[in-house]
Symmetry: C2
Subunit: 153 residues, 2 copies
């Protein structure tokens, strides 16, 4: 991650930062979302590391059309903010819903869910996830095409 510290010579280890960190989206390196946890083409840019006693970190996650997370849960929940495009999200037992730029989603602690692009349009969201006992997420099974596409919508 390239960080522009207010005092630039301090280096860039957010967990021990001596000044607030300022990260521009285009400067944080994009890492591919691994196939073990995602379907399709996904990139993840870490924007804010956890700094204790805070437990929240942030990442910008970009999904190409058709891409989505596996099903997963977060022990302390997750706040998503859609910054570009439109996507689909689903909590287990509920219908898929469409979300576009400017929408905030709060996934409950422990709720099984997935999120991603629509089949025809990419989506980027800021994901703010809290880490409890060193764990931000429990990854589960992929979302198969039949479930992803679901009923016509």
């Amino acid at each position: 991650m390239k960080c522009l510290h207010v005092i630039a010579l301090l280096g860039c280890t957010a967990s021990t930062a001596q000044a607030q960190t300022v990260v521009r989206a285009g400067e944080a390196p994009a890492k591919p979302g691994p196939a073990t946890n995602f379907t399709g083409t996904v990139s993840v840019r870490t924007m804010a590391e956890v700094i204790a006693p805070g437990q929240a970190g942030a990442a910008l996650v970009t999904f190409q059309p058709g891409a989505r997370t596996n099903w997963h849960t977060h022990p302390a929940g997750q706040i998503l903010y859609v910054t570009e495009g439109c996507g689909w999200i689903q909590e287990e037992g509920s219908p898929v819903i469409r979300v576009c730029e400017g929408v905030t989603i709060h996934a409950r602690p422990g709720a099984k869910h997935w999120h991603g692009a629509t089949s025809s349009q990419g989506m980027r969201h800021l994901a703010v996830t809290e880490t409890i006992d060193g764990k931000p997420v429990d990854w589960l099974e992929p979302v198969p095409a039949s479930q992803y596409h679901g009923p016509a919508r």
Copy 2:
């Protein structure tokens, strides 16, 4: 706050929500930022309430040109994501820096800081703030014009 639950009949009390909450920016009511904590015209839309064991909540905060927070600290820090426009932010003892759409700022726990619009351009950011022992923020003194404008920039 108007919430569109996945199961809409569940009602809208995020702290006891039975399904993930989805809030569109234009639907959350805008409340004025009080003059005790802000200078100028500021509106605050709550987008995500804290749900234990999570400790993070989110708000979209819109600053008209010239508007800014008072100096303040957060016991667990704060993650800001600029969604529109450009603003100025400052941590005590460091220069003012300019931030625009797409920038993420991570203010350290306990660090005294302020944020707001520039003098000529409005700014909106998502503010994700963690609450510890019931407290998300300690408000301090206003940022006077001389400090806000500072050296030419």
